[in-house]
Every structure is written in structure tokens, then in C-alpha cells.
Chain length 221, copies 2
């Protein structure tokens, strides 16, 4: 099992103040965030519309932490290069949004970025069967994506399955969990094998003075 | 012809700093902007993805000026209510993105908002034939929408045609022009009958200290 010092926290700016995102990104960086998680939605793959590559580009100078960009857009291919150029470090895609899923992962890698695969709650882990050599992160969604503030869907066996697949690869691959993460649900996800926890509401809900406490509580340290 | 005092300037925050949009909105308000113009793009109706209703909601407390929201999203119907609830005052749609165009305009009005119709450079003014009673603003695009910084497409006869249609209605309807607006192109558009000028780069390019000068120059006062 992963120890607390190896756990990474990725606050999702979906729950930040969109009127001052630069400050928010700098604040979570200072509060100990490991990754800056960016939820990109287009109103097609999911029923919400959030922020695009221009916003990522504007935020990039506000933190040197890893920009972990989760693309909930369909089709995703036309935007891979824009997010790479905007300063994403990890680009995570959904197989349902990429008809040539293997090629899209190759394209992300070819741009010098890390490639992630996101699994909706109902998506089987079998979609990973033939692409693991191209994968740097697997994101197990514990809510159906679209909106912040939803309740955690407990899927420990799915997380265990993904951890087992990662173990066979013999290299560092992140296992990220996103949706309904609190200090309590984080504990369950970590026990099952997650090493990166995305958290929106649980980090941002009480304002900047509490960001460091909140991140520490989710990390379980 | 419209006099300088009747001209309204609508800076487009597409050209603002996305990392501190709240401050940017307050700054253009203080600099004399009449409307706050918000360009919403979904990567489907146009090949760019910008900001959604959550951002509009976050910006609403930063200005009491008119929020003039231009929806370049298709289909547009699922998002009308979200933008109304987020604080839009004017909601402008494209006929190509609304298969039941007349009904969508009714829906915007039913939510207590002003309804706008946007015409791409290639869209004929005939789309207005049967909807003028539902229209509070006509937006003549002088670039093909998607990105800031494009060159003005001169369409004076189209603007004159729209002004003539408005004149027959006997009530205040805005004639807005958007795309490549500078103090020079604004003069041409105003001469043809425009009374609201959207400007992005021309307002924002030299930073907040110049916003008031830039707005004044476009207004031609």
C-alpha cells in the first residue's frame, strides 16, 4: 500500500473562484497541492461547459506544479495540441470521446506530455487492455463527470483491478481518483491503491485560509 | 445616424487576462464600458472552447453593467437557462445553432432576459424576417467567430439593411458589431448604423491603464 508521503493531492479548480483563478492556483500551490487539476467540459461529452485552453494558458505562469488536465470533451482530438501548447503536463482523455483512442494517446506522448485514461463509473477496466504501454495515469471516476459537489461512488474493486494492471507494467503510473473525495473517502481509495486524489469542494469550501489544512487532511498525513 | 453619446462599448473579455477576470471586469466597468461582452464557445459551433456559465456567475458580482452574453454553442437550447441563472442580461444566439430559433428566442424572453440574434459574415439578414418582434439586439459579426485578433470584414450594406429593419419596429433594438473593431473600423460601422461596438484586442492590448482611453477612442467621442 502507498504511504502518506507518496500520496499526491490534485485540487480541482472547478470548485475555485473563477473570477480570480490565478490567485487560486497560486494559493493551492502554496498550500501543498502536488498537481493542479483542471476540468475541461464542452457541454457535449458532459452536460456542463467550463474552461478552455486559453484559461489554462493564462494560469500557467501562476504555478510550477504539474498541470493535470482532464478533458471531458468529445471529440477530443482537435484540442490535444491546444492544451499541450497551453502548458498541460498530463492530458487525460475518455475512451468514449476518442474513436481512435490508441492514436490519441500516441499523439499526447508525441507532444511530450504524459497521457492519462479516465474511466467513468460505468466504464470497464478492459478498455486498458491494449493501451497500458502508452499510459502514464489512470483516472478512476467516482462520480459521473459534469458537476462538482457530488457524492462518492464506492468502487474499491475497480481501483484494486487498476492497481494490479499498473503493477505488471514495472514503471511509475499514477492511479488517480476523482469525485466525492473527502478525508474519509480518500482513505478508502488509498487503501484500494489510489495514489493521486482529486478534490474540489473538500479543498475549496471554506476559503484560502483552510486550503493547507484541507489538503493535509485528504492526504491523511 | 447615431451620435457619439448614444454609442455603447462592449469590451469582450475574450481578450482579458483569464487568470483575473473579476478584476478585469471591474476595470473595464470603471473605464467606461457600457456592456460586459462575454464570448462563450464550445468547440463545436466554433473551433475554440472558452468559458461557461460557472465563470459568468463568478463574474456577476464584479460589475453592475449589462452582461452581454454571446453564445457560440450548438445546440444552444440546453444552456439558455444556465446562462440566465448565471446573471446574463442579454443572451445572443446564432440561428444555425438553434433548430427552433423562434422558440429559443421566446425562451430567452420568458426567462426575463433580452434576446439577441447573431449573424455570421455569411448569414443573410433574411433570417430576421419572422423573428424581429422577439429581438432586442442584432449582432452583425465582422469576423468569423472563434478567435480574437482577426481583421475586420467590411459589411456596411448588411449593417444598413439591419438598421432599416430595426427602424420599422418602432422600439429600441441594439445593432451590435463584433470583430476587428478599432477606432477606425468603429467609425465605418457607426456610420452604417451600429450603436454597440464589441472590442477585444483594441481595448485590452496595452493593459488596464489604457482601457479608458481605448474605450473613448472607439466611441469616437
Amino acid at each position: 500500500m502507498t504511504t502518506a508521503s507518496e500520496i499526491r493531492i490534485a485540487p480541482s479548480i472547478l470548485s475555485a473562484d473563477f473570477a480570480r483563478l490565478g490567485e487560486e492556483v497560486a494559493a493551492i500551490d502554496a498550500a501543498g497541492a502536488d498537481y493542479i487539476h483542471v476540468d475541461v467540459m464542452d457541454g457535449h461529452y458532459v452536460p456542463n461547459l467550463t474552461i478552455g485552453p486559453g484559461v489554462v494558458k493564462a494560469l500557467r505562469p501562476h504555478s510550477r506544479k504539474v498541470f493535470d488536465v482532464h478533458l471531458m470533451i468529445s471529440p477530443v482530438d482537435p484540442f490535444i495540441e491546444a492544451f499541450a501548447n497551453a502548458g498541460a503536463d498530463i492530458i487525460t482523455i475518455h475512451p468514449e470521446a476518442a474513436p481512435h483512442f490508441h492514436r490519441t494517446l500516441q499523439a499526447i506522448r508525441a507532444l511530450g506530455k504524459k497521457a492519462g485514461v479516465a474511466l467513468n463509473p460505468g466504464t470497464p477496466t478492459d478498455v486498458l487492455d491494449h493501451v497500458m504501454p502508452l499510459v502514464d495515469l489512470v483516472l478512476v471516476m467516482t462520480v459521473n463527470p459534469g458537476f462538482g459537489g457530488q457524492a462518492y461512488i464506492s468502487l474499491p474493486e475497480k481501483i484494486i483491478d487498476v492497481r494490479r494492471r499498473i503493477a505488471t507494467m514495472g514503471r511509475a503510473i499514477d492511479l488517480e481518483v476523482d469525485g466525492g473525495i473527502t478525508p474519509e473517502t480518500a482513505k478508502e481509495a488509498i487503501k484500494a491503491g489510489a495514489n493521486v486524489l482529486v478534490a474540489g469542494t473538500a479543498v475549496f469550501k471554506d476559503g484560502p485560509a483552510r486550503y493547507a489544512d484541507r489538503i493535509r487532511a485528504i492526504r491523511g498525513g
